[in-house]
């Protein structure tokens, strides 16, 4: 399959390299704004972000919803998100399919949900609430996880597909998370991609992490540190995904070693090369994957 139109390519905006980002706007087609930085950040940070509106397209991404916590959604938070999304003129709002907190305790880290139909039903209802408060398409993002709940009886793809199909949410596909989960938990990432209905993936995240040598596990464990260049294996998955999906935006995430801006620009170039290859039909056959489950 040949891709006929390419997605916008950009980075997640980070204040610490804000000056560099503004000086290099012509390198990007789009920037992803973390809405929580607009809600909880300072006036200077907010002003710097809102100043970008109109200079290039912005997408809106959240980290503070905790949609999976088994309590009602924070509607006031969603209303603030709606204001930010409108001000950014963002075409969509994305959040993680995860939970980060319970009343009285906030891990500030994304945790997986049991992948069951009952949990999916509850998430579907919450997505409908989100859509009723935030007037742009809502996208859910797959997370990386160290462990799974023992009662999970749906695969990652089945769980996402069920929720997105029934709620009308799109998918923000984090390909690095897919690569990490497939490696750490031994499943075939290409089978995951092939199980997604065409058109479901609206946006994409890419990043690079580190490999931990864990003596107890007796095997390497990949960590989603957003600190290093995107691995070739994730870019291979991107190429394969682009034969079936037409995302509007591909965002490179970087949260550590942000001074290595050359690596960021190099990754952007590598992503653009993979898109060009997909558009010309030059996507390699899927690698042979040692899938364990």
């Amino acid at each position: 399959m040949t891709i006929t139109s390419g997605p916008a390519v950009g980075i997640g905006y980070r204040e610490i390299i804000g000056d560099w980002t503004r000086a290099n706007l012509d390198r990007f087609d789009v920037l992803e704004i973390t809405v929580d930085h607009c809600i909880y950040g300072g006036e200077a940070q907010r002003a710097a972000i809102f100043d970008l509106a109109g200079r290039l397209p912005l997408t809106a991404h959240g980290i503070g919803l905790s949609i999976g916590t088994d309590v009602p959604l924070d509607l006031a938070y969603l209303d603030r998100v709606a204001e930010i999304v409108e001000r950014l003129a963002a075409p969509a709002y994305s959040e993680h399919l995860a939970f980060t907190r319970v009343p009285g305790r906030d891990l500030a880290n994304l945790l997986p949900l049991p992948k069951t139909e009952a949990v999916a039903e509850a998430i579907i209802a919450k997505v409908r609430t989100v859509k009723s408060r935030v007037p742009v398409p809502f996208l859910l993002e797959n997370i990386t996880y160290a462990f799974d709940w023992p009662d999970s009886n749906l695969s990652d793809a089945e769980f996402l597909n069920l929720i997105c199909r029934e709620s009308g949410a799109g998918l923000l596909l984090d390909i690095e998370n897919l690569h990490l989960n497939a490696t750490n938990h031994g499943f075939d990432p290409y089978a995951f991609l092939d199980a997604l209905p065409a058109g479901l993936v609206q946006e994409v995240h890419l990043a690079g992490g580190v490999t931990l040598q864990d003596e107890v596990l007796g095997r390497p464990f990949l960590s989603d540190s957003h600190s290093h260049p995107t691995p070739d294996a994730a870019l291979d998955l991107l190429g394969h995904m682009l034969t079936r999906q037409q995302p509007a935006a591909i965002i490179l995430e970087r949260d550590d070693r942000l001074d290595a801006v050359d690596e960021i620009l190099d990754d952007i170039g590598r992503i653009r090369a993979r898109i060009a290859a997909a558009r010309s039909g030059q996507v390699h056959d899927r690698p042979i994957v040692a899938a364990a489950g």
Binding site: A44, T69, L111, A146
Partner: protein, 246 residues
């Protein structure tokens, strides 16, 4: 979702924020019943990832304090983890939790060196001032709708500290090994006009007391009753230590 799921989520977070999970003491100890069936070592990895993120925020706020805690740091952090589970994602809230923990601990066991509380207080003040300078939504000091234009108050981004040691040299470039002198030192932590980051400076006692009295919007005529006082007030306004209600 069911009540049972919330209970399981709460149980998971309680476990992941415990010293047992973070420091890998799960071997031989059973995980809580709602988490049975999850590989304990994977929970340990998750706990460690989350702990590392939280401690990066706290260590970033207290670089000098961490260095001075030295060999005590590891034991202290284990104690902190169980005493103060994370309640918020923000750096400043986690920093305040750690500072409150230190202060409570130092009441029971005097710190070494003795000026460590002053250093920690200054570092927390720098973090608070930085947050306030960046204009984060105000915590406390709500706008008094009754205050008339022209009222003055201490700038909301200014922190006053009365220290028993002059710890300023520690906050100067290359001053990590400085030995503070024991003396009553009225300090102000603020972002000076034209600067991007907080600075620690000593104030004359009379100025310190004046700023300390300006918690609320106040009629300036109560202070600027002489030419000298008026000049001082204008100077404080110019330096960004006092703000005037528009």
């Amino acid at each position: 979702m069911t009540d049972r799921l919330l209970q399981r989520q709460a149980s998971l977070l309680a476990y992941l924020t415990s010293a047992a999970a973070i420091f890998g003491e799960h071997a031989g100890a059973s995980v809580p019943r709602p988490l049975r069936g999850i590989e304990p070592h994977l929970l340990h990895l998750e706990a460690q990832f989350s702990y590392d993120k939280r401690m990066a925020k706290i260590a970033g706020a207290f670089p000098r304090t961490f260095a001075m805690l030295g060999d005590d740091l590891d034991a202290l952090l284990r104690e902190f983890v169980d005493a103060c589970p994370p309640v918020d994602i923000s750096r400043i809230v986690n920093a305040r939790q750690f500072h409150d923990f230190l202060v409570a601990r130092w009441r029971r066991s005097p710190p070494e060196p003795a000026y460590l509380p002053e250093v920690a207080a200054c570092e927390l003040a720098c973090g608070s001032v930085h947050t306030a300078h960046d204009g984060a939504p105000a915590q406390g000091a709500p706008l008094d709708p009754g205050a008339p234009a022209g009222s003055i108050r201490r700038h909301s981004g200014v922190v006053l500290l009365r220290c028993a040691y002059d710890v300023r040299p520690i906050f100067e470039d290359g001053g990590e090994d400085a030995e503070p002198v024991a003396r009553d030192t009225p300090l102000v932590v603020a972002v000076p006009v034209g600067h991007s980051g907080p600075r620690v400076a000593e104030l004359p006692p009379v100025v310190f007391d004046l700023l300390a009295s300006l918690d609320e919007w106040t009629d300036p005529s109560a202070f600027a009753d002489t030419a000298e006082a008026e000049e001082l007030l204008l100077d404080l306004i110019d330096h960004g230590l006092v703000e005037v209600r528009a």
